[in-house]
């Protein structure tokens, strides 16, 4: 018992250190080993712990001797601390999972990752992995959420074209559109950037946003909240996992997978070069993509996996027509991070979206 007690105090000390270094937004949760302790797995992630809890629990069932430490932070903070750790060649985590896949690609491109070396890689589609070092774990569409009451008569817009028309034709949506603040949110910026490269609708879309005084928010949940309580009618480019799991329990909102195309993001994970327990990290990744892991991710979290995603989504939306456009994990994502490019893109966004000051 003394042994255990001293270990615990050590762990607490370590966690305390972690917290102070990484900043205030960080939350650290530790899941003790269920049996005699044989190793640690440290996961650094931007995903809400509640989404990951079932997976961690499943992992500890199979690996009872391993304690799991889950470090959750905002994408910007995580990116910064991971970059510093990589540059200093110091340990931060055994596994880094983030929805900021462009940043993940940048880190892997910078040599921060190590080879995963798992047979699971060969089962994944090409777009969901890169170099055998970065691996896509989820299948999260960029969806529109709508307030069911607001569209009770005419029905919600089914595509971007519908949305553009709606924004142009009437003032109904004035002040009633919510989306990510793309300057603040990594995922929002990524979706916006992909939209700009995907189709010519982007220009008209942001023009419409500007005219209708779009409201921007840091996070998916804020957008969904606003749509749910009716302050906004439409939430654009919301992360599907959040929207779908909320829609399950909240009858006020509906979810649309746009007909013209639906961007899909795969939350990506890699094992850092300095990982201390790469084997556990690999086991965790393999679990996530195993039938058991797929069942968990396809379950109430609605994170889905690259393997099961298309079918599961088609089932959920009841819409066979949806054209999924997964964002490939490839160095092309680096373009969106280019300083000059980003500055130009954001300035264009700002000019269009921010209403001219009176």
């Amino acid at each position: 018992m003394t042994c255990r007690a001293s270990f615990l105090s050590m762990a607490i000390a370590a966690l305390a250190t972690l917290s102070t270094v990484a900043g205030a937004a960080e939350t650290v949760t530790r899941f003790e080993a269920r049996e005699s302790h044989s190793g640690d797995l440290v996961i650094a992630s931007v995903t809400d712990l509640d989404f990951m809890r079932p997976l961690i629990s499943a992992f500890q069932q199979g690996n009872a001797g391993i304690s799991v430490t889950y470090v959750q932070d905002t994408s910007n903070n995580l990116d910064a601390s991971v970059s510093i750790a990589c540059a200093n060649r110091s340990f931060l985590a055994d596994l880094v999972v983030s929805s900021s896949i462009a940043q993940q690609v940048r880190l892997v491109n910078g040599g921060c990752a190590r080879e995963i070396g798992s047979p699971v890689l060969s089962s994944l589609p090409d777009w969901a992995q890169w170099r055998g070092e970065l691996i896509g774990l989820t299948f999260e569409p960029a969806v529109m959420v709508y307030n069911k009451a607001a569209f009770a008569v005419d029905g919600p817009p089914r595509s971007r074209f519908d949305l553009i028309d709606l924004m142009r034709q009437s003032g109904v949506l004035n002040g009633r559109i919510a989306t990510y603040d793309i300057e603040d949110s990594g995922v929002g910026y990524l979706f916006a950037f992909q939209d700009s490269t995907e189709a010519s609708t982007w220009g008209r879309l942001i023009e419409g946003f500007g005219r209708n005084n779009v409201a921007t928010f840091c996070c998916s949940s804020d957008v969904i909240d606003r749509v749910a309580d009716g302050r906004a009618y439409i939430g654009y480019n919301v992360l599907g996992s959040y929207a779908l799991s909320r829609a399950e329990n909240d009858p006020r909102i509906g979810v649309i997978l746009p007909d013209d195309y639906t961007l899909v993001l795969a939350r990506a994970g890699y094992i850092p070069r300095e990982a201390r327990n790469a084997n556990a990290a690999r086991a965790f990744l393999e679990l996530a993509l195993s039938p058991q892991g797929r069942a968990i991710l396809d379950g109430e979290t609605r994170l889905l996996t690259p393997l099961s995603g298309p079918d599961a989504l088609a089932r959920l939306s009841g819409d066979e027509e949806t054209a999924f456009r997964p964002i490939p994990l490839s160095p092309a994502l680096l373009v969106s991070l280019d300083r000059a490019k980003r500055a130009r893109f954001l300035s264009q966004w700002r000019k269009s979206v921010t209403p001219p000051s009176p």
Partner: protein, 475 residues
Amino acid sequence: MNILSPHPVQSRSRSIAWRLTLLLTLLLTIAAAGTVVAALSYGQTAATRAFDRLLTGAALQIAERIGVVEGETVVDIPLSAFGLLSLASEDRIFYRIIGPGGETLTGDEAFPLPDDASGRGEPLLYDAVFSGEAVRAIKMQRFLAERAVRGPITVIVAQTLRARSELANEIVARAVIGVVIAGGVTLALALLAMHLALSPLRRVEIALLARDPKDLTPFSTTTPREVEALVAAINRFMARLDRRVGAMQDFVADAAHQMRTPITALRAQTELAMEENDPRKLKTQLRRIRDRAVGVSRLTDQLLSHALVTHRADSATLELIDLRRVAVEAEREARRTGGATGIELDLPADPVMVEGDAFSLREAARNLITNALAHGTPPVCLKVSITQDGKALIAAHDQGPGMNTVQLERIGQRFARDAANPQSAGLGLAIVAEVAEFHHGSIRTSVSAGGGFEVGIELPLARPPLSALARGDSE
């Protein structure tokens, strides 16, 4: 005689097939190794060239999108450039754009510039190491000549080498597989061809081994030209062997027959003499016994001489010799062994050169002398000359009447014995005839105008131009 044994001496370890196999394998291995080395270098070059084009294309696309807006250099990295580089899907990408003042406009500030700073205008491909991995990079410059911004903008794009080495390895692997298959097939075909080509040799071998040891007839097996000479040599050899065996059998038969009669006579005469009491008659009988013994001795001598000459006809090598020397030596020998005296020598002043075997010719000359002494009338003269039709002649001359026509007809036959003369074995001129034949010459007899008889051998003169000097010089 071991040639006739059923297991001819031969070394099987170094068969032609073995040598050819070894040589072919060696040659093919060298060729294959050469091809693989070439493929390695080609694979590397091809992969480098292919992906260098991607790099160049990406750099060009980026350079094209550099502009000046409101007095500031603007770099708008095109997605297509990265799409192009992503064709090497597993490779990491780095880039760095440097402004006219040396400041990094965007990209990895730490990315190394080429060591070689020369050739400013031209795109420069170089190798470097960045973030722990070897990379291939291109440096390209674009000159801006705007009012606000003037000078070169440097674009650097780099890529790790994974796709390159994969492509190179693939090229090499394919080449190696191709070479191995081609080499194997070639070797198999070559061995098959060799097997077929060498089959006549095996036929000869089988024919040789299957032969009865007593069978000395020539081979009739059809053989390829390359081994015709070999088979011909074997056939010649067997013919010679056949002749030799025949001659030996003849000799044994002759010797047995010829020796038996005089020895029986000698015994009978000796027994008669032992019962004789009258010393006068005894003396006569003893003389007869001595004559008979001389005859046997001559016969033995001639038989052996004949056997030797016959043997040499097959085996001796011909050399250039002077007939005068032959005559001198034959006379000396006849004097020493046969007790012949009073033999004259009639020799020309110049050498009379022929190609021949000295021993056989000497034996022939000795027999000519012995023959003349036995059957002719002294004085006997051994003569060497060159005849009018340009042949060399060595002949014994005596003052007797010579041979009658019957004798002349039988000249050269063995055991053409004069019944009246017990000392004659009848082999002398047979030996002479044999020697003449083996020297491509002939026996020549003539009756001299001034009385006397001459018998000798005519031989072709040896080539040297000495013959011109020696002409008409006989005494």
